[in-house]
């Protein structure tokens, strides 16, 4: 009997030792993992935290130390930066950005929904080729079409207006969004739509009353990304907008670097904080849609 039980207990104690060892290893690896994540997170976010702190510093204090808390907080940078060296305040530039963004987002949402609906729910000749063209447009570098587009907009008399920034997007020009919505729509069941059709709804009614509500979260992602990208867009306005009174914030910020003698850093940093604030607010209010949107875009289709 003893001969039989002995190995068992030995095995159990070695099991326990292994378990203890595993627990220790898990603890070590958890510590390593968390310190790594916190370290990386700190490195990633410190420049942003510092930026916010520095925007309340005086110009001389900005170069005095690496800490982010200002010694004697001042809003001088904001007050002076807001005035700009132009006849306009930053309020004007924010308004211009808003005027560019709103029609662009609405146009994108409507046109991309229609196009995605066509690809996901209808059969028509050349469908495969045309969907292939969506992928091609997605991968086509803008740099190759930019010059002729500029010439086209010049011939149409659209230069120095917001039309070159609105119209291509309103014609489903951002293939990424079409692709994203098609992927999302294909994953949705069609029985609701069929029920609506049986009840006599035509395809447009089905689109508006059945498909659009189901597309909700994906459509929100589309709008948020378009908002963000348009807010950050610099090259588009740089090429097409030439009057200062039509400048969006991205161009205005560039202008304030160029015109500020010897870099009044506190003004520039203060205005930088203001220009990223809308994007940050929108992101934190709706981050779920960003994360889901970007993950959906990466899924294999």
């Amino acid at each position: 009997m003893t001969d039989l039980t002995l190995p068992k207990t030995a095995a159990r104690s070695s099991d326990e030792a292994a378990a203890a060892k595993r627990a220790r290893m898990d603890l070590i690896s958890a510590v390593v993992r968390y310190s790594l994540l916190f370290g990386v997170g700190f490195l990633m976010l410190y420049p942003l935290i510092w930026l916010v702190g520095a925007s309340f510093k005086t110009n001389s204090e900005i170069f005095a130390g690496a800490g982010f808390l200002p010694e004697s907080p001042t809003v001088e940078g904001y007050v002076q930066g807001w005035q700009t060296s132009t006849p306009y305040t930053f309020g004007r530039f924010f308004w211009n950005s808003f005027l560019i963004i709103l029609p662009k987002v609405i146009g994108t949402a409507i046109s991309c929904t229609m196009v995605a609906y066509a690809f996901a729910r209808f059969e028509f000749p050349l469908k495969k080729v045309l969907f292939g063209s969506v992928i091609a447009v997605l991968l086509l570098p803008n740099v190759v079409t930019r010059i002729p587009q500029y010439i086209l907009f010049r011939d149409l008399g659209w230069l120095d207006s917001f039309l070159p920034l609105w119209v291509p997007s309103a014609l489903a020009g951002d293939a990424f969004f079409v692709f994203m919505l098609v992927q999302f729509l294909r994953s949705l069941p069609t029985d609701m739509e069929e029920a609506a059709r049986v009840d006599g709804a035509n395809s447009l009614q089905t689109l508006i009353f059945i498909v659009v509500p189901m597309l909700g979260p994906a459509l929100v992602s589309v709008c948020l990304f378009q908002f963000m990208w348009t807010m950050n867009d610099f090259l588009g306005p740089l090429i097409y907008i030439s009057s200062v009174d039509k400048y969006p914030v991205s161009l205005a910020l560039k202008l304030s670097i160029d015109t500020t003698e010897a870099f009044e850093w506190n003004r520039i940093l203060a205005m930088s904080v203001l220009t990223i604030t809308p994007a940050l607010v929108v992101f934190f209010a709706a981050q779920r849609y960003f994360i889901e949107g970007i993950s959906a875009g990466g899924r294999k289709g």
């Binding site: 196009v115 045309l130 981050q287």
Partner: protein
């Protein structure tokens, strides 16, 4: 069925108009313009291959710009993706605060393309900026970030890598969708963590690696804001990426023909690399669904 044929096209109309007017025609027009001399004032003059001949034989700015662009893309994309995958793999364990970390790491991707961040970068790496202060605090001599050609390009590369969050989120979503029973099977077979990562996880991630690789490459070749704001292409054209060169030729000097030729060379490079990626993907990208069917 017959009316459906028209219906599909009806909903497709905006896209078709946009495709023809803003993509297809400009695409062909720019190819045509690349064989001309065109200053926007008089009509384009056909000059045959002379733009391309000048590019490849006499234009030293182009040589420099092309070299810098290739160095930039081939250093930035692998660095960014490796880092994104590394962080995603760490986040994939059962961790507390996973949402907090995911959000924190994603914030730079939201803001990274903006002019504000390029401005911040310009300060961070300036002679008396935050980075040199931090280096000084640890006891090292300050680095001349914008005066030295290699360092200047490195700051632009870092700005891209800082925005690893969007690629990371895609990796993380893919990692979380991997069937847990595969890991159990690997562990029963005695595979360690590293072996499991390289022989189970990595093959299953190849579709998203491929997706990220192509998208990041196409984007990196078109980087403009960073070098335009932070370094203005300098010093000694060490950050003068091709999009900057094209922009200046086209919209500063109005050499539309020559700028189109540069754009087409850039496009050809991107296209060839994309095709190589697609072609080679048959050999290294593993689609679980395809094998089953």
């Amino acid at each position: 069925m017959r009316s459906q044929r028209f219906l599909g096209y009806a909903y497709l109309t905006p896209y078709l108009i946009g495709l023809v007017i803003f993509t297809a025609i400009p695409f062909l027009t720019s190819l045509y313009l690349s064989f001309t001399s065109y200053d926007l004032m008089s009509s384009p003059q056909w000059t045959g291959l002379s733009n391309y001949e000048r590019l490849f034989t006499r234009d030293r700015t182009f040589d420099k710009s092309l070299t810098v662009t290739l160095i930039y893309v081939f250093s930035t994309v692998p660095l960014k993706l490796a880092f994104a995958l590394f962080i995603a793999a760490i986040l994939n364990y059962k961790l507390k605060f996973i949402n907090f970390f995911r959000t924190a790491f994603y914030v730079p991707s939201i803001l990274g393309g903006s002019i504000a961040i390029a401005v911040l970068w310009r300060y961070l790496f300036s002679a008396e900026g935050l980075v040199n202060m931090a280096i000084g605090a640890v006891g090292f001599a300050p680095v001349d970030w914008f005066g030295d050609p290699t360092n200047a390009l490195f700051t632009i590369t870092l700005l891209r890598c800082w925005q690893f969050g969007s690629a990371m989120v895609i990796f993380l979503a893919a990692l979380q969708s991997i069937d847990k029973s595969l890991y159990e099977a690997a562990s029963i077979d005695g595979a360690g963590k590293v072996t499991t990562f390289f022989f189970v996880t990595l093959p299953l991630l190849t579709p998203v690696i491929f997706f990220n690789l192509v998208m990041q490459m196409v984007q990196a070749f078109q980087e403009f804001n960073g070098p335009y704001i932070i370094t203005q292409g300098g010093p000694l054209k060490s950050t003068y990426l091709l999009p900057l060169y094209i922009y200046e030729e086209a919209f500063k000097k109005f050499n539309m023909g020559y700028a189109s030729a540069i754009a087409w060379v850039l496009f050809a490079i991107i296209m060839v690399l994309t095709l190589v990626a697609f072609w080679s993907s048959k050999k290294w990208v593993y689609y679980a669904g395809d094998k089953r069917s």
